[in-house]
Amino acid sequence: MPTINKRISEEIRAQARKLLEEGEVAAVLGYGAGSLPMTVKPLVVRRPEDCSKLIWSAFCVLNLANYLPAALKSVEPPRGPRDPKHEGPLPKVAILATGCWSRNIVVQIQEHQVARGRVVVMGVGSRGMVSRRKVEALFPGLEILAVEEGDHELVVRGADFAETINRWSVVRDNCQSCTHPDPVLVDLRIGEPVSERKNPNPFKQVEEIEQQSGDERWAWFTREFSTCIRCYACRNACPLCYCPTCFVDDAKPQWVGKSLDAVDTGLFHVLRAYHCAGRCTDCGTCETVCPMGINMRLLTKKLNKDVLNLYNIEAGMEPDSPLPLTTYTMDDPEKFIITELTPVPRAVKEGK
């Protein structure tokens, strides 16, 4: 009996081939095998015969929604700035999507980055993606040459060892705390739907920090982000970051300095996270691609928690509703407003 992911891979190939052969889509956005163990690479398939390159595994950690706007653009017929608009419908792109990625696509639709009619969402229920870093941490000093994937276990092989480990124990933190593993937007279902996961406290990691004192939190923040090398991988891998000029590249005014100074890196991370407020779906890609292993996801998770508590909105759950920061209600909480005012001392009042 082939494993669940093997069956899903087969189904993806068959469906992608069918879509391309029938001319329903011009390209399929999926994953191909990576060059190292436990890696995959994003793959755009344009010919039916290339569909055999598509794979699905527990290591599909890059968010495909990040490549969707560019993929849609690439299949459009070439058009100069003065050429007339293309007549008739533009070609479509099919994309693989689990819960969080489908919510990112919803956010892209809400923000008019992607036209709903041009996307065919191939929905896959997520069983949680495995963190390569967590697996490597189990084998310090050893080189992992291959990882075989079972349904509930992973067989890790090196030059002179082979060990079976529990799959869930090495699943990424964001997948472990995920409550919506099944895609919210599905045009074509791949595999079996996955039920909503009951998680008593999806914000446990955030609350652990919140319970600390202000000084401890500041110590945590400076320590966590001190190793940042400003490679901007977190920004580049994020499907929310599509501004033509990012605030970090602004020169006048220069919001954030370009040095490795702790203040500059700190400001970058605070503002980057804040720009994802109400839009982040906790896909964990920023954290996964970080070469320094910084847990910057905790900042966006904190914002997700506040958006849910204050406005009762989870990003990307409903395509027809507005994003939390583009709307308001008359009775939004305003606890942060100063209420305790010091009366002006009398002498000062009279100008003495």
């Binding site: 605070v270 407020a277 005012l341 009366p343």
Partner: protein, 148 residues
């Protein structure tokens, strides 16, 4: 530090053109004195104040930041301050989360007719910032930059 005794905080105040700035004006006209620690930046609307501006002021060495706009419902642009309210709520929580002292960045609503309230707001903000002392978190220091 002996300088601490004479230390006076620098507070950047982003005031909306239609209410809070007029409120500051009224405080002046009505001769309500308030501490001279605030440096006013006039903005069209509290909705104009972005997180980049607030953080940039902090980075550049402001000891305190005050953002003030029209009361909800009174916005000259109908709804600018409602959007600002959502954004500031999230920002102040995030700043608290990373350990920026509560009171560094303050928000208030002051209308054009509230000259006395404006003086009170500036008083309380200045008191809070004075109690916190000079800002050090997320403030860019030249010697640290040179060392990095």
């Amino acid at each position: 530090m002996s300088e601490t005794n004479n230390w006076e905080p620098k507070i950047i105040a982003f005031l909306c053109n239609w209410c809070s700035y007029a409120g500051a004006d009224l405080a002046g006209v009505s001769r309500f004195q308030y501490p001279p620690n605030i440096r006013i930046v006039k903005v069209p609307c509290s909705g104009r104040v972005s997180e980049n501006m607030i953080m940039s002021a902090l980075k550049s060495g402001a000891d305190g930041i005050l953002v003030s706009g029209c009361h909800p419902g009174d916005c000259h642009y109908i709804s600018g301050n409602y959007f600002a309210k959502r954004r500031f709520a999230l920002l102040s929580n995030l700043l608290d989360f990373i350990g920026i002292e509560p009171g560094r960045v303050s928000f208030s609503w002051v209308s054009a007719s509230e000259g006395e309230q404006f003086a009170e707001v500036v008083h309380s903000v200045t008191e809070r910032v004075k109690a916190l002392g000079p800002a050090s978190r997320l403030v860019k220091q030249l010697d640290a930059v040179q060392a990095a």
